[in-house]
Assembly symmetry: C2
DNA sequence: TTGAAAGCGCTAACAC
DNA sequence: GTGTTAGCGCTTTCAA
């Protein structure tokens, strides 16, 4: 910047003014400075600027695994929001609760980022306190906390919608397959979907049977194994609600293996509407994954520029997508 | 830091020394400082440190779309490499050639990142010159340039392997489906695979027929449409080599629609071995996507710490994965 | 073994 | 309109 100033025959202050388009600068000097910048191929040092301004122009997205299609899809929404601004996106993938704690501690520092987005990962009061103290804006996606801004869907209603769809078709033996209801990361959304499922059954006077439920690791193969187990018992369910599309696809695998026809002999409904769900012609609860990232990103950007008032929860709408894997029982 | 120094009754220089674990500091003052840090919940301002040191501890990954499973998988490898270091990962997704140029210009600045990774995106001499001038370490993944470090597979050999597999099974009418051989981003890998395909055919004295080839947008549906077109002509191919698994899955869709049995009436081979390929039981050319990110990330980290010598190309091995979608023609 | 002080590159108050 | 200057928070000579 010194060099540019010298070459243009002005002070660094003036160069700064020109570059930032601020203040009253005479057209003549403006051009001189611009020319000097071009000739020296100069551009601002963003680090120095950050130090001076106390703004990093960086947003951090903290998420558990880049392997989950739903998380990637949300992240894409976040990217889109960032593309609308001048902020860069730091992607932090944490595999263990310990790593999560370390990362959350690190990124609750004011100097590190302008704001943080937490995707599909529950936070505890300690984490929240750190952020509230440091004043780093934080938005949760697919997670709950009363003191924070968050964008979610109503998973309990979603679970209910799924189960009610099956009940409406005439099913009474309705299985439920999910990841662990109590896991180290405590995905609260799974639990909420389970509650909705129970509620729907109870409302229809259908007993909620443990033997129609399985929980386990996340993933298509695990879901397949659970479904195999579930369907091999005497008097098996005639319909299965899987708490994610990935799991629902695993259920379809199991049905294929057991030569059980879908939807004639078994109805399957998923949750999320990931890209593959359409191709598999899977009935599912669509949740706006991309939009959740987009909305959260925009909200966060707002907070960065204008510190927010009281925390709000943005609830995005769910939609039942009736496709080819559900039908009345017995064909 | 002032506060910590005051509280510990030392100078900021000493605090700095303690935190960085450097130099000779007496155990007594070390403990005093550490205690003061803990009491004040203090930690270094990374921005100030960056300004002083000229290192940002940030690596930028520049890629085209987060929608391609292959790119996400490579990115995961990069993440893994970063997790081994103290660097953060900036993920820059660029949708258009203009955005790419802007981003590449921006991130060839020394002050912005310690290094840059470009994933599945060709670079031209102008881009390269900028990086070479600024001295920002750069590693290419799935892209070519003689003056840069890069990690690749031998796509020409890969294309050849795929075609030879089909020829070996007895096929003579072998279709080829790909994204545009000349596209705005000029994915050179597609072209290389095509060359390998041609080579294999020529070696086997099979004429390379334009009418057995289709190119178009990337994506499962586009591939399906191309396959529909390809298979609807008189004397259609008995086997199709799709330049990516996503496209191969689109070909399977088309076959299903046309009630053409795979592999009995049509053999299909893909490329990449993305996660879905296994579930679809797709014969494919496995390329180490995750590892490409990991290796490139490590290489880049090395370069950051020790400026590299002459550029090298790391070639990762390809592997034919024979699964259920290929068989001799006519059943 | 520790402290004083310069300076990384920028911006914003204040002077002119 | 433009220049001077202080200072963002850190590290690192150099001196003690």
């Amino acid at each position: 910047m010194q060099d540019v100033a010298a070459r243009a025959g002005v002070s660094t202050a003036t160069v700064s003014r020109v570059i930032n388009g601020s203040d009253y600068v005479s057209e003549a000097t403006r051009l001189k400075v611009l020319r000097a910048c071009a000739e020296l191929d100069y551009s601002l040092n963003p680090i120095a600027q950050s130090l001076r301004l106390g703004r990093t122009k960086t947003i951090a997205a903290i998420l558990s695994f880049l392997t989950l299609p739903s998380i990637v899809e949300r992240l894409r929404g976040v990217q889109a929001a960032m593309a609308e601004s001048d902020c860069d996106l730091l992607t932090l993938s944490v595999g263990t609760p310990e790593a999560r704690d370390a990362i959350l501690e690190k990124y609750s520092q004011r100097a590190r980022t302008d704001g943080v987005l937490i995707i599909s990962m529950p936070v505890n009061d300690n984490h929240v306190k750190r952020f509230l103290n440091s004043g780093v804006p934080l938005v949760l996606i697919d997670a709950q906390h009363p003191e924070l801004n968050r964008v979610n869907v109503d998973d309990e209603t979603g679970g209910k919608m799924a189960a009610e769809h099956l009940i409406g078709l005439g099913h009474r033996k309705i299985g439920f397959i999910s990841s662990y209801l109590k896991n180290p990361f405590q995905f609260s959304s799974t639990l909420a979907r389970y509650k909705g499922y129970c509620e729907a059954l109870e409302s229809a006077d259908i007993p909620v049977l443990r033997r129609y439920q399985r929980e386990g690791e996340h993933g298509r193969e695990y879901a397949r194994d659970m479904a195999l187990d579930l369907l091999s018992q005497p008097d098996p369910p005639t319909a299965i609600f899987a708490s994610s599309d990935t799991k629902a696809i695993g259920v379809l695998d199991a049905a294929k293996e057991l030569k059980i026809r879908v939807p004639e002999e078994l109805s399957v409904i998923g949750y999320d509407n990931i890209r593959d769900a359409e191709y598999m012609n899977l009935t599912t609860i669509h949740q706006p994954l991309f939009d959740s990232g987009l909305e959260a990103g925009r909200k966060l950007l707002n907070m960065v520029h204008a510190p927010s008032s009281s925390p709000v929860e943005i609830i995005l709408p769910l939609k039942l997508l009736k496709r080819g894997t559900t039908a009345p029982p017995g064909g």
